[in-house]
């Protein structure tokens, strides 16, 4: 009855199946495994942070911006001022800002030295500290300056790209993110938004500084006879308060912020020229930065009407810019035409105090030639001096104001500038959202205060 051969056949078949499964296991480990390990549904990628002493934040002078609480977390000293830079760290809602960008550094997950590793096993893991380029004194000051307003201030060093201050209001208490989350989500003023790097605003007249570069580079005739009106394709543009300026050159046009001049000259420069220059100023491009940024919009489509081009030229139309981009742009003019890459992280220090990373400045874009930049700088100094709102005794301040009309009906008040003009250590952009006042009236005086505080000590 029994058929040993057939039973043996069964045995061989089963053996083959088992061995095949073993081989598949090996194949899985070698080929399939590495591909799926990084999947965001794999909770093994999310470390148990309560076992690690998170690193702390410091400003450029070494002032502590956070301090440790418990055995693993930390809280901010000034949770509202730094809410958008350092960001929140919540088990429920995740992380934002530098807490998110540098999470693995703060957890010390990339600890490579052997001694650190050993210490980890014995004492538990300790994270690295982050030293920022921010000047704490200035940061808090700027935050207070914006009290009662919506908007943003960005202050940076145009020669290195280091961010000295970056504030956005409305803000929120980042230390209490868990308790405040529901309210924040309902808040129509969007306090979570980092307006400094992500807020997109119509620039208005501050755009004229960039259009000026386009005008100068294009080689067109810079003279103009202003009659108070400029008609392009049936649409008539006027100046602020209907002023008539007569004979103007570029400098005059900047001083007077003459819309008529800029609309006409923009159409003369043409779409291609305007677009090219705007993109050198990093419009339509993602600015590499440690925080999330929005792309500024210089909308130049080939089938644009002349009026659209004209509007773009004086900062209206579909043009949108972030305060960060504006600060970088104005700073580039002051820095002989070199736009530097912005950065907030100055140094990473290991738990033992050793600097394991120090940031080095790098150029992001050459926006124009040094000679055009210097010429425009002089124009912008004259502009500030004529306006009088941003002047500082004993220092040459270069800059441009703007009052941007937008859908809300209340214009954004802008100021972008740098000082000292001949060798600027500070460049800034201020935008007061839906302020309803001119840049000269509302934004420029804030710039004066900042320059005074930082440059006149």
């Amino acid at each position: 009855m029994k058929k040993p051969k057939r039973i043996l056949f069964l045995l061989y078949a089963i053996t083959a199946l088992f061995l095949a499964m073993s081989l598949y296991l090996v194949y899985f480990q070698l080929i399939v495994g590495p591909k799926i390990v990084g999947n965001s549904y794999n909770r093994r990628n999310y470390i148990d942070e309560t076992k690690i002493l998170r690193g702390n934040f410091f400003d450029t002078h070494g002032t502590a911006l956070t301090h440790t609480v418990g055995d693993s977390g930390h809280v901010m000293e000034s949770p509202r001022s730094y809410a958008h830079i350092i960001g929140y760290n919540s088990e429920q809602y995740g992380k934002s800002g530098m807490e998110k960008t540098y999470n693995s550094t703060l957890l010390g997950l990339s600890q490579d030295d052997l001694f650190g590793r050993f210490k980890e096993i014995v004492q538990g893991q300790v994270g690295n500290d982050l030293h920022l380029t921010i000047d704490n004194d200035l940061q808090l000051y700027c935050y207070d300056l914006l009290e009662g307003h919506k908007g943003a201030i960005v202050v940076l060093d145009p020669s290195t790209g280091a961010i000295k201050a970056m504030v956005s209001r409305p803000s929120f208490n980042a230390n209490e993110i868990n308790e405040l989350w529901e309210n924040i989500m309902e808040d129509k003023s969007a306090p979570l938004l980092n307006r400094a790097a992500q807020g997109l605003y119509t620039p208005g007249s501050v755009m004229k500084a960039i259009t000026a570069v386009a005008i100068m580079e294009s080689g067109i005739d810079q003279d103009y006879h202003d009659t108070g009106e400029q008609t392009i394709d049936g649409f008539t543009y006027t100046n602020y308060l209907g002023a008539v300026h007569g004979e103007m050159d570029l400098r005059q046009a900047l001083i007077r912020s003459a819309n008529t001049y800029f609309t006409k000259k923009s159409t003369e420069v043409g779409l291609a020229g305007l677009k090219e220059v705007a993109e050198k100023f990093y419009f339509n491009k993602v600015i590499p930065f440690e925080l999330v940024t929005s792309k500024s919009v210089a909308y130049y489509k080939t089938d644009m009407s002349l009026n659209d081009i004209a509007a773009a030229g004086f900062g209206q139309g579909d043009t949108l810019v972030t305060p960060l981009n504006m600060a970088l742009s104005i700073g580039a003019i002051g820095n002989n035409g070199a736009m530097m890459r912005p950065n907030i992280l100055q140094e990473i220090r290991s738990p033992r105090g050793v600097a394991t990373y120090t940031s080095a400045p790098s150029m992001l874009s050459r926006v124009t030639t040094p000679s055009i930049a210097r010429e425009l700088t002089d124009d912008l100094v004259a502009t500030v001096n004529a306006g009088g709102a941003a002047t500082v005794k004993g220092i040459d301040v270069a800059g441009k104001t703007g009052s941007a009309e937008n859908v809300s009906g209340y214009s954004h008040a802008w100021f972008a500038g740098f000082a000292p003009a001949e060798n600027p250590s500070l460049a800034l952009a201020i935008v007061l959202e839906e302020e309803g006042e001119t840049g000269a009236a509302a934004a420029a005086p804030l710039a004066r205060k900042i320059f005074q505080r930082m440059l006149r000590d």
């Binding site: 029994k2 069964l10 089963i14 088992f18 899985f28 495994g33 799926i36």
Partner: protein, 418 residues
Amino acid sequence: MDRLIPSPMKRRMVSARWMTLLFQILSLSLVLVHQRETLTPRSLGFSALLIVLTLMSQFLVNLFHQADSYLLMITNMLFSIGVILIYRLSSFYGYRQLIFYSLGIALFFAAYFILEKTADFWVQKIYFYFLAAAGLLVLTLLFGFVSGGAKNWIEIGGFSFQPSELAKVPFCFLIAGFYANRDRMRSLKGGKYFLMAATYVLIALFFLQRELGTAMVFMGVLFSAQIAFEEDKKVILLNVGLAIIGMVLAYFLFGHIRTRVDIWIDPWVDMDGRGYQITQSLFGIAAGGFFGTGIGLGHPQYIPLAYSDFIFSAIAEEMGTFMGIAVILLFLLLVYRGIKVSLAQPHPFYSVLALCISISFAAQALIMIGGVLKLIPLTGITLPFMAHGGSSLVTSFVLLGILFYCSNAALEVPDEEA
């Protein structure tokens, strides 16, 4: 008669026994270190009990010189790997598994003794086995409650168990009875189709309870038994044909089967929902690498049902792919020895019985490991001796005990039937 017990007997037996002990000591130490902050006397009690029970069972089994004690020793190793990881995941389930183990060991020896005393009683029955198996399944249908997507649990006096697991025992006896009494069956009209018909009825009952995995195991055992013992090739072909038709029909008839096939083909589209279990299993296996993360250093707790359905994934994560391969090879060894028992046993009934039991272990292991590796769709059957589960563990030890008896070289062979 073939020698089932390899020589030199004494040396080999001794080293196999100590291997398991060594493994237990090493891995238990790691688990205790991992749990150092919550150590209680009970944890040490667990470790001691496991070691003592294993040693006792190894010692006892080696007293049966006429039977294959390797069967239990391989199983003890498999069990240890499983129970230690279960304990690492949850001391509660670990204790329970250990208690089921002691019950299993007792039943293992009990099965041997019962069969030894009543060897001839079982040989002539056929319909009795079918009724027993079908009865168990009908019982579940009538009184059962659903757990884990299948209605296959029954509660008696506070304890829940799965009769479908238990049904494996009468089923193996049914096949053995059928082929041992082949001439009697053939003389009946349509008799040679009886086994197939009976099996299909049982499988249908399984389908009604959504127990697809066990249905597949039954199918595998029937098919293998036919290959080994069926003389009428037409019957085998008929079975293959019906099986294919059945599977296609089932796919189109049953939504939950289509679901399982969909999840198997692409679990990544629904990692939150249906694909959750299998994707988490794969993450775990991938996380372990070849040598594993180390006991206590991985995250097998992220794998759902890591202590039962996905115990293999948990083992692969913390003890590595090499341990996974070791488990596969241990099962292969167990099945190999079981088939060898079938080959060597001259008594027709117990030879068939041995084959059926061996194949059932093989099928369960293949289907289960294949499922968690996403080689085939998940089926919800358990890995014998390793997954947490009283019914599964106890049934497996009963089957092992029966297999152990089948390896009895001193069984009296009946005269050839007329």
